[in-house]
């Protein structure tokens, strides 16, 4: 009577038909985009049209797919802003969204476009125009060195909050949790992922916020893909690695569209079947919490695991405020002796150890 057994019947839902949300974070820091070699290989306009095509392709996959675009700006360019979707549609008295406000009537004979594509493009371009205008106002162009890095943490946070809002909406009714391997968010049935198109390096002071975002994404099974058009980033490498996303540093920026279509377009369900670029060597360096320097070797609080480059003042951990005891001589290479109570021990030969102050 096995064929009558209904228990497994519902275990595998049709995974290919899940709606998919793609959040694109685009780095609009003007310095890398306007300096060689990037400006000749991949001018911003071309990159933008490639990205719009890519987003259209994502929408083409399914009626239920959604897209959001966020701009991450330079430190003095204001915070991250959501370019698309812009704002809520007005609702009528019963709370149902009204049909779209009447558009200016198109000229007869004018070529038209699939409406969702058109909305996306117009929305993104309008939003981008507004953001660029505000950046121009603020930045008087004097201090160029400061501006060549991009704050990514704000954009990541915004993306995660947006995903939570959209996916969380379905949580009450459709609380089917799918197997973790498909990379779905736990609440609702909307699969989400974040794609970061980055052209600049990291801001070391952002280490803690960025890592917090990465852990949140990890928890929710949201892959963070990174497309490094130019520049180097330690944190983004770790982000892609930790969340199971795709990280690529483009050697040939003029092939941008093809990179996007092949490596970044398949959604988490399709990725199960595809071999995607992985990173061989991930740079796992961290930044210290006290001076925000990137460090190789440092001190770690044994309670809250925060990282410091030097011993904190008064031996008090800056994050959890625990009073720590610190024995002199953190770099100890001990032979296999009996451990005396209360002393820091070292591990095997050769590898420099991180001294762990104990309470």
């Amino acid at each position: 009577m096995d064929r009558v057994d209904a228990t497994e019947h519902f275990a595998q839902h049709a995974q290919g038909d899940l709606p998919s949300l793609l959040v694109l974070i685009i780095d609009i820091n003007p310095i890398p985009w306007t300096t060689n070699p990037l400006s000749t290989a991949l001018p911003f306009n071309t990159a933008l049209s490639n990205l719009l095509l890519f987003l259209n392709a994502h929408l083409a996959f399914s009626h239920t797919n959604k897209v959001a675009v966020i701009a991450a700006a330079a430190p003095r360019g204001g915070g991250a802003k959501i370019l698309y979707p812009a704002a809520e549609l007005p609702t009528d008295t019963k709370g149902r969204p009204q049909s779209r406000p009447p558009q200016p009537a198109p000229q007869p004979g004018e070529p038209n476009k699939y409406r969702p594509f058109k909305d996306l493009e117009e929305g993104v371009l309008a939003g981008l125009g507004k953001v660029l205008a505000s950046v121009n106002e603020e930045d008087d162009g004097t201090d160029r060195t400061v501006v060549s890095e991009t704050r990514i943490a704000g954009a990541l946070t915004l993306a995660l909050a947006y995903i939570n809002r959209l996916a969380g909406a379905g949580a009450d009714n459709l609380g089917q949790t799918l197997t973790k391997g498909t990379g779905t968010t736990e609440a609702g049935t909307m699969q989400s992922r974040i794609l970061v198109v980055s052209v600049a390096g990291d801001v070391a002071s952002e280490y803690v916020p960025v890592m917090n975002c990465v852990f949140a994404a990890q928890k929710k099974h949201i892959p963070i893909d990174v497309c490094k058009v130019a520049g180097n980033s330690v944190f983004l490498q770790q982000a892609a690695d930790a969340t199971g996303g795709v990280y690529m540093k483009l050697d040939a920026p003029n092939g941008f569209l093809q990179y996007l279509m092949m490596a970044y377009l398949p959604d988490p369900a399709a990725r199960q079947h595809l071999v995607l670029p992985t990173q061989a060597n991930v740079d796992f360096r961290a930044a210290c919490f006290c001076h925000k320097k990137v460090v190789d070797v440092g001190y770690v609080c044994s309670i809250c695991l925060s990282i410091f480059c030097t011993v904190p003042p008064d031996n008090i951990c800056m994050t959890c405020q625990t009073k720590l005891a610190h024995t002199v001589g953190g770099m100890v290479v001990r032979k296999k002796k009996k451990k005396k109570a209360g002393t820091a021990t070292g591990s095997g030969a050769g590898t420099p150890t991180v001294g762990t102050p104990r309470p």
Partner: protein
């Protein structure tokens, strides 16, 4: 979901020339891409879309994980059947028309997506009105099928369609619902709409209407905006004829047949979307608006049924397979019992249809469980169906009386290769096949060969 894919599989049987014509329009290309391809196939198409050279098969093989070979074969097979890709010299090429149309769909620049009206409508129509219109038209059809009395009767054309599609049959004066009709009723709205439309398509040949243009119009409707008026200009004569019929189904709305604009209803705009969220038409609308479908049936482990509905259509559907005992203004209660299920089986409904219907319309409270319906109830419904099927009967022929073991073995192997072997008994040298003509030929051939050999020796 699988139901709608099945109805699309009919489209796969179209000849390559038809596909070529279909791919000339970007909106049809987009719609077919969305609905007919499995996920992996879509990814493959996208990867090749902006490549100008053919892609070597070795590349595709390397790109897909070795463990997913089955999905890969399925995807490639589908692409081939739909004439989207062709293979030559171990290289995969994307069909040129398809490629051009799809690129155009992504970048815009064609006039394939419907021409919105430029002038104001003297009698403007709201989205709510369109929804009500579509619901009324569609439910009239369903009510007619179920046999409940309703004020609106569907038009002659619709009734002809239902009979032609095998969903109803003419008996004495009025038409009665058939077994296929039952399963039709229990499907979700999107599948139902497509079933009717595909039936329309197959009847089109007899009405001398062009297949391709009909399909174009269907896909076009799927890409239109709700609430926006579209002008009739730019539609071919075939498509103009279709407008009349589509009005009857509630898919488009026109104030009069002579007006030069038409409004797509929600049934139209959701044609090319996935069916998962659209259950009945009414719930489809709710689902589309509130972003979370409203199921209304609760099934308990003690076989009791509670349905939060007051629609006569839903209640009649439930009465097919459950015994309804109490009715409140917003709730109907009943019980699923052996008798009620057996009665449904006698009418021709299968256990799977009942279970699918219950799952699709399950109350949000129920959806929090996995699996959605209590497995005891599901298993029991199937068991009750099997109870009636105590034996399995297969027509065919018994082959017996072989003179030698060798004759028996060889004929047996031949039958096995053909795939017609159903039962065998090696001691008695008997076996049972579903089709015996080829076996008979084989035996005769062997006999002739043996006779010739014997003669040759003699």
């Amino acid at each position: 979901m699988s139901g709608s894919l099945q109805s699309f599989e009919q489209l796969e049987a179209l000849p390559p020339a038809t596909f070529k014509k279909l791919y000339q329009e970007p909106c049809t290309t987009l719609a077919l891409f969305r609905r007919m391809l499995p996920n992996l196939a879509k990814s493959i198409v996208m990867a090749m879309l902006y490549q100008d050279d053919p892609v070597p098969m070795s590349f595709i093989n390397a790109w897909v994980k070795p463990t997913s070979r089955r999905e890969k074969e399925m995807a490639l097979g589908k692409l081939r059947r739909l004439c989207i890709t062709s293979e030559k010299n171990q290289k995969l090429t994307l069909d040129a028309t398809f490629k051009a149309s799809f690129r155009e769909a992504l970048t815009g620049g064609s006039r394939s997506f419907g021409t919105p009206c430029t002038t104001e409508d003297k009698h403007p129509v709201t989205v709510e009105y369109l929804d009500n219109y579509a619901t009324a038209q569609w439910e009239a059809i369903l009510h007619y099928m179920v046999g409940t009395e309703s004020e609106r009767k569907p038009s002659e054309g619709v009734m002809r369609l239902l009979v032609a599609g095998g969903l109803m049959e003419k008996r004495s004066r009025r038409a009665e619902i058939t077994q296929a009709g039952f399963s039709f009723l229990l499907q979700d709205a999107n599948t139902q709409v497509w079933t009717l439309l595909l039936q329309y398509l197959s009847m089109a040949a007899s009405l001398r209407m062009d297949h391709v243009e009909i399909l174009h119009f269907f896909m076009l409707l799927g890409s239109l905006d709700l609430g926006q008026a579209y002008s009739k200009a730019g539609l071919t004569p075939t498509q103009l004829n279709m407008l009349e019929d589509l009005r009857d189904y509630g898919i488009v709305y026109q104030r009069k047949s002579s007006s030069d604009r038409y409004y797509p209803t929600r049934l139209a705009t959701t044609l090319t979307s996935e069916s998962a969220a659209l259950r009945t038409v009414q719930q489809g609308f709710d689902a589309a608006m509130s972003q979370s479908g409203q199921g209304f049936i609760v099934v308990e482990t003690n076989y009791r049924l509670y349905a939060y509905t007051s629609s006569p259509l839903q209640i009649s559907l439930l009465a097919f397979f459950a015994r309804l005992s109490q009715r409140y203004p917003n709730l109907v209660t009943g019980k699923i019992s052996r008798q009620s299920i057996r009665q449904a089986i006698r009418m021709g409904i299968t256990a799977s249809q009942i279970i699918d219907y219950l799952t699709v319309n399950a109350h949000p409270q129920l959806r929090k469980n996995t699996p959605v319906l209590p497995p005891t109830v599901v298993d029991q419904i199937r068991l009750w169906q099997i109870e009636g099927e105590r034996m399995k009967a297969t027509p065919g022929s018994l082959i017996r009386d072989f003179s030698t073991e060798r004759d028996y073995r060889e004929t047996l192997n031949y039958a096995e290769e053909l795939g017609v072997l159903l039962w065998r008994n090696d001691q008695k040298r008997w076996f049972f096949v579903s089709r015996h003509e080829q076996i008979a030929d084989f035996i005769a051939q062997r006999a002739r060969a043996q006779a010739a050999k014997a003669q040759g020796r003699a």
